[in-house]
Subunit: 402 residues, 2 copies
């Protein structure tokens, strides 16, 4: 799998912009704004970390109304663990942006990513607000600028778009995201912004977002760390003029499918952009009794440092995979487990197949590694995407701040 080209993520009825306001040095873009032309329904999912950025608290609260139009995002500073000034900054920034846009303050969401524990230079954002709003637009360049402005040390910007037809109306979903972990994990924050012209109420939108995230953004792991600022937000402005999407309908299933597809594409781009990452790894657990059981096992394998270093070294050490299955904290019958790596059967009914190490090494030379674990205990499955663990991971992370 190579990094797929970013599709122009523009969606009818939405504008975007990215500028440099001076938080980052050297004229690097660090401030983005996304806005719907008309009032939109909105939903978000956020980090499970108990320590959260005031921005997360702000946006969670604003989303309770189910209606929001704008998202202001800065990179270069996470505005986290900075004392009471953090929330005051959120208030001042969203207030300024709302005034410039002539919309209510409560319709402006905020997200930040960057270094923790350093006071946010909010005055730079406030000073840049008029320019930011003035430069809003619908061109491909507008969206590229915005996608770049939310990057921290991602190597490439990440965006995508998907379209499908629902009851005669074309529905578009666009999205931009930035990477997490591996590369510069103190900026481990994963931010994802999705926006669609579908007509869908906020409650149904939230359900769909949770379903999609649980098959995409919540199923990638680089180093297991969970940032203070992670969020995925979706806005839906109804400009497609489709009959409203309702829960428990085929229309809902189609929408979830499209939202999951774009989310998984964006999440894959995060894994593929891991500096130091040399492999794109999919750990699939199938034959599970429950999704939770399948997830625990897939996550255990995908986060094992031993598995990840073996993948980097192309070391045919499959015992590490089986070992990580065992300590996942999920119950299963060890005598029923099959394990495959790129279709090579390594373990059958809990016993080694004695595949030749040469054959396994050859399979491990692929850039894409698919590890499949079949529990033969049910019909549920989960997939977790990850990358390998290289020298560069240690190098980059040992020398991040200094």
């Amino acid at each position: 799998m190579k990094l797929s080209k970013n599709r122009n993520p523009a969606v009818p009825g939405f504008q975007a912009v990215g500028v440099c306001c001076g938080i980052k040095a050297k004229n690097i873009k660090d401030l983005a704004l996304f806005i719907s032309d008309v009032p939109a329904t909105a939903a978000g999912v956020f980090t499970k970390n108990r320590i959260v950025s005031p921005g997360v608290t702000w946006s969670r609260r604003a989303l309770k109304s189910g209606s929001c139009r704008a998202i202001v995002v800065n990179s270069g500073n996470a505005n986290t663990v900075v004392g009471p000034k953090g929330m005051k900054d959120c208030d001042e920034i969203t207030k300024t942006i709302a005034e410039e846009l002539s919309i209510p303050q409560k319709e402006v969401l905020i997200a930040s990513t960057g270094v923790i524990g350093v006071s946010l230079p909010s005055e730079k954002i406030i000073k840049a607000a008029p320019l930011l709003v003035k430069k809003l637009g619908r061109t491909a360049k507008n969206w590229t600028d915005a996608a770049e402005a939310i990057m921290t040390t991602d190597l490439v910007s990440k965006s995508d778009r998907i379209q499908y037809t629902f009851q005669g109306k074309r529905i578009t979903i666009g999205g931009v995201t930035k990477g997490s972990g591996m590369i510069h994990p103190n900026m481990a924050t994963m931010l994802g912004f999705l926006y669609t012209d579908a007509a869908i109420d906020s409650k149904t939108l939230k359900m769909a977002l949770i379903e999609a995230a649980d098959r995409s953004f919540n199923r990638i792991t680089v180093d297991g760390d969970n940032s203070t600022n992670d969020c995925v937000i979706v806005l839906a402005n109804g400009e497609a003029k489709n009959p409203a999407i309702k829960p428990n309908t085929s229309g809902y299933r189609e929408f979830v499918k499209a939202l999951t597809t774009i989310s998984k594409n964006l999440a894959s781009k995060i894994i593929l952009d891991g500096e130091g990452a040399t492999k794109f790894v999919t750990v699939r657990v199938q034959g599970g009794k429950t999704r939770k059981q399948a997830y625990l096992i897939a996550n255990s394998v995908a986060t094992s440092s031993l598995v990840k270093t073996a993948l980097f070294g192309e070391d045919p050490n499959w015992g590490r995979i089986f070992c990580a299955v065992g300590y996942a904290g999920a119950s299963f019958d060890p005598d029923k487990v099959d394990i495959l790596l790129n279709k090579n059967l390594l373990v059958k009914n809990g016993n080694p197949t004695n595949l030749s190490p040469q054959k396994l090494v050859k399979a491990m030379r692929q850039h894409e590694i698919d590890i499949t674990i079949d529990l033969h205990g049910g019909k549920e499955w989960e997939e977790v995407l990850t990358c390998d663990f290289s020298y560069d991971y240690v190098k980059i992370n040992a020398e991040y701040t200094t």
Copy 2:
């Protein structure tokens, strides 16, 4: 903290031996035997991995009687994920050792450590059994040989002894252990063998072992992986002729204290022997409401790849510590948290103290790093010992099998 010299771990009424039987190449010791002169009470704690070595199953079963005299241990092969032959090998080996010792087979425990998924050459062990028993003895060399024979790729053997007086009788506890993780983690197995001349019934002994292990062997982490073969076994033969130690007495508390002390010394030696490890790290969480809460948080910090790479690089990136506290999955009040690194206050009441990075870097240059997290929410505490995460960790683990 430097590797402390191994004390002669001999204990009255116990013999040991270590020989090479040919599992490992080049005349490296790979077979050990520990035995009590007289019947002993016995207890063990084992890995929580769902995939276990037949040796673990064997020893768990044998320990149900509460009485065992001998432990036979091989290194170089874990006898794990090898099909039905694994249990048959356990049966044949313990049977042979029992015959040579003229004791019942059910009094012989077994442990293995080494590569997974390769059939154990049990015939080599069986052939070596007469020599093994013949060379049993009480000298310091006997114990050194035994401690060496259980090593996999540990750099040094690990043993210790502690003595104290209880109601006029001198009680001795000895122990040998081998390392886990970091170095060659497919041999990640941690084995610990403790033996004492104390008189104590098996039920009380098991209680004491669990208490001691939960403050020592169960509180070290190198890479979070939990092997298929981990075990800690204790034998008590009563040769000290003390009045039997009973639960809920001061005598019990003293015994637990001594057992915990030697266990923690041995566990520290495992951390200190991590190839590639450049730091000895103690993560202490205090002010906890429950031990579980304190443990979850301490373990989260101690297993964070981001924290561990920052410690290796002496990077004053304390935000990573706070972030790992947050995603530990334990509830606490973020506004009450204090964080100290080698007595430097980094976070006070959830806010940064703005300690100068220079001062923090200086503190991080120490070989011993103490991270203290005070939750100010109760009186419980937990400590987890770990090491940093270096280039060598990746190097060694990427190139282990090949």
